[in-house]
Amino acid sequence: MPQKFYHDDPEWADIEPIAQDDGPHPLAAIAYTDEYSEAMGYLRAAMAKNEFSERVLGLTEHIIGLNAAHYTVWLYRAKTLETLNADLKQEIAWLNPTALSHLKNYQIWHHRQTIIEKLGSPEGESDFISTMLEQDTKNYHVWSYRQWLVQRFGLYTEEELNWTESMIEEDVRNNSAWNHRWFLVFGVPRDGREVDEYTVQREIAYVQEAIRKAPQNQSPWNYLRGIFKQTKRSTEDLKTFALEFANVNKPDDIFSSHALDVLADIYAEEQKKDEAKKALDLLATKFDPIRANYWNYRKVLLDQPEVAA
């Protein structure tokens, strides 16, 4: 891209740029290019006089092209767009390729959220997010943005659930996809959402099938345990299921350390301390020895009912 300067641009002749003042011998100083340095000088000057204009939009676009991780420039751009009552669809059209070329950037997502909030419509957003996630299936900012979008526009739909399911089908170990599913079905922690029995049964069946594909995958186990905890149901079914993968009396026939963990919890609840200890011992000595300290701590808790409760 050709360099762009402002000092000989008649459109900017009225602006006296403000040079960066870092004091003497600054630490972590950057030898900026002349182009970046000058553009920032004009932005500081525009910000100092609270200018929100078309030319400021051009200037912020220019600087974002040079440094997309510059939150100040994004925030000032958002305010300029708002003040000018600018065409926000055009802004989204510009943002799409910008986001794709800066996958790890996080200011972009907050900016996008601000724009979509103002536009008041989620149209096209799900597709765009899916494109982003194809590049980076566990991108935290993209998933968080999707959660915001669902919440803001009430997109708790069959379509959203199916899409999430396709992400899980693609990689049953994608914990971000499991979290999104939880968010869709069970909502935000402590918001007291009621989930009907049909849905709960559907979720239990779905997650159990996922566990059978790879029993040592913790993501669906956490989901399954979460369901039992959230809906406060009897753990009898959970126990039956976990026993498919681990039996504390058959230590040569154990297929999942997470099943042992679940069993240890349930036995503790049932006051079957010896069985719980067997599960924890198997974890500490053979099936998850790197966490031996933790499993032994859980054993100690078994004998302190007031703490374990």
Binding site: A28, A69, N179, R190
Partner: protein
């Protein structure tokens, strides 16, 4: 057991077996003489035996994108856990010694100046200064030669309306504010403390407070749990009032204190997995877990606040699951890869959790192994994982992680209040960790404050200085 494949047919883990037989070991030994080879072999054998002893025999056969990148990671990490590809001196446990001088040199270089292609760092310069100052002090360096420069660097980043930005003319941001304050706390001179404008800071923090209890990072910026933690760090260290400033927008909705709805908000960030997310509904994540626990540990004694606002057994289960096996280092989320920065983000959660739930819950030795064996870069600086380049961020947080492994902490609420948000000034060293250690005296780093992540003692001095200043919300200094 319909479709679960039998994992016992591959005992011990085929991944481990595969890596044990790679050529890295042979190359390592190729130009050593017989006596050295004997020594190396003994260490390698010991390391192999250790790795087998902590590896679970269970492994699923199903391949997905997650297991593929995990296998790749193991191929990169294992040669470092077994042998010594960097040719470092070994300590008495047969692991690489802490490469102190090389890391010091690396951090000093990381203070700049930087060439033009580093422009992307323009908004993160306060972080770079903090990571370098914290890293250098963890390594036992006297940083007084930088004192004046730290103060002058940040004075131009302080915003006229309060808080610090990434640099001159940038909008205030709570991450920059956090990094700037901590850097000035590490410098610890009166000049450094006095350079912070408490009055405008107070007003800025008031503008960040949200009705739901959380904090935004910047004006009209994102609201996440970093905001809550960074704001409380500032309020506590600068001994600011808890009462919201008169012009705080949240006041219009009936809030009167910085702490209003905050415990509830943090609590809503704990997910069904037991970990803590950036904001309610997001995925549990190691770095946000530290922010959440740090925030609660400033609000009050961890035993009270953590137990009050979080499901602690679920939290401990989740935190423990973050230790990668057999790597020993931590990852940030379920089914993600080990990364040296989580040596701190997850490792740092333990002192806070142990103060709330009891000690001896996690594996310090395994973390120490990962940091010493796999996270030290040949030419200095520490890394995410072998094959990655070092940077100040990974250097700072691996070294902090080493400190969490090496020291025990206790929280003792003494008699007498020191004012608002004084909870984080009651930590005491509970000695060095001595069981199953894998480091010698020469590998020890300095003590780090469990909440503030600055040299222990520095936060206390800062708070004390501000307690002695008279407060006026309309004052000038």
């Amino acid at each position: 057991m319909a479709s679960a494949q039998d994992p016992t047919s591959q005992t011990p883990s085929s991944r481990l077996e595969e890596t044990l037989s790679t050529s890295a070991r042979v190359e390592e030994l190729s130009d050593s003489d017989y006596e050295e080879m004997e020594t190396l072999t003994r260490h390698e054998e010991a390391n192999q035996a250790y790795l087998k002893s902590i590896t679970s025999p269970i492994e699923d056969l199903l391949d997905t994108a997650s297991s593929e990148v995990q296998d790749e990671t193991l191929r990169a990490v294992m040669p470092f856990l077994i042998g010594n590809p960097n040719d470092f001196d070994l300590n008495s446990y047969g692991l690489p010694t802490l490469q102190r001088e090389k890391h010091v040199k690396f951090l000093k270089q990381s203070l700049g100046p930087f060439p033009p292609q580093f422009a992307a760092m323009d908004a993160s310069r306060p972080w770079v200064v903090y990571w370098c100052m914290q890293g250098l002090t963890a390594l036992g360096q006297d940083i007084s030669e930088y004192s004046d420069r730290v103060v002058s660097t940040f004075s131009s980043a302080q915003h006229p309306e309060g808080g610090f930005g990434g640099g001159h003319g940038q909008l205030p941001h709570l991450a920059a504010t956090y990094a700037a304050i901590l850097s000035l706390v590490i410098v610890g001179t009166e000049e450094a403390y006095a350079s912070i404008n408490r009055q405008t800071m107070y007003s800025y923090l008031g503008r960040m407070k949200q009705v739901d209890g959380g904090f935004t990072m910047s004006p009209n910026g994102e609201e996440d749990i970093r905001g809550a933690f960074c704001a409380l760090v500032a309020l506590s260290l600068l001994n600011l009032p808890l009462e919201l400033p008169p012009d705080a927008p949240a006041r219009q909705h009936g809030l009167t204190s910085f702490l209003d709805n905050l415990g509830e908000w943090v609590s809503r960030c704990q997910t069904y997995e037991g970990g803590i997310s950036a904001a309610p509904g997001n995925e549990a994540h190691g770095a946000y877990a530290f922010c959440g626990l740090g925030c609660l540990s400033i609000m009050g004694p961890p035993k009270d606040t953590i137990n009050k606002w979080l499901d602690v057994p679920a939290l401990i289960n989740w935190l423990n699951s973050r230790q990668s096996c057999p790597e020993g280092g931590f990852h940030g989320r379920g089914n993600k890869l080990v990364d040296g920065c989580y040596s701190h983000w997850v490792g740092g959660c333990w002192a806070l959790v142990e103060a709330a739930a009891g000690k001896g819950i996690w594996n310090r030795a395994a973390l120490g192994r990962y940091i010493l064996s796999a996270a030290q870069f040949k030419k200095g600086g520490l890394v995410d994982k072998p094959g990655k380049r070092p940077d100040a961020y990974h250097t700072c947080y691996n070294l902090a992680g080493l400190s969490w492994a090496q020291y025990d902490w206790k929280y003792e609420k003494s008699e007498g209040e020191r004012g608002e948000l004084d909870a984080p000034y009651h930590w005491q060293l509970d000695g060095e960790y001595t069981e199953d250690v894998v480091w010698d005296n020469g590998d020890m780093v300095n003590r780090v404050h469990p909440v503030f992540v600055v040299p222990f003692g520095k936060a206390e001095s800062c708070r004390k200085w501000f307690e002695e200043q008279t407060w006026s919300s309309k004052g000038t200094g």
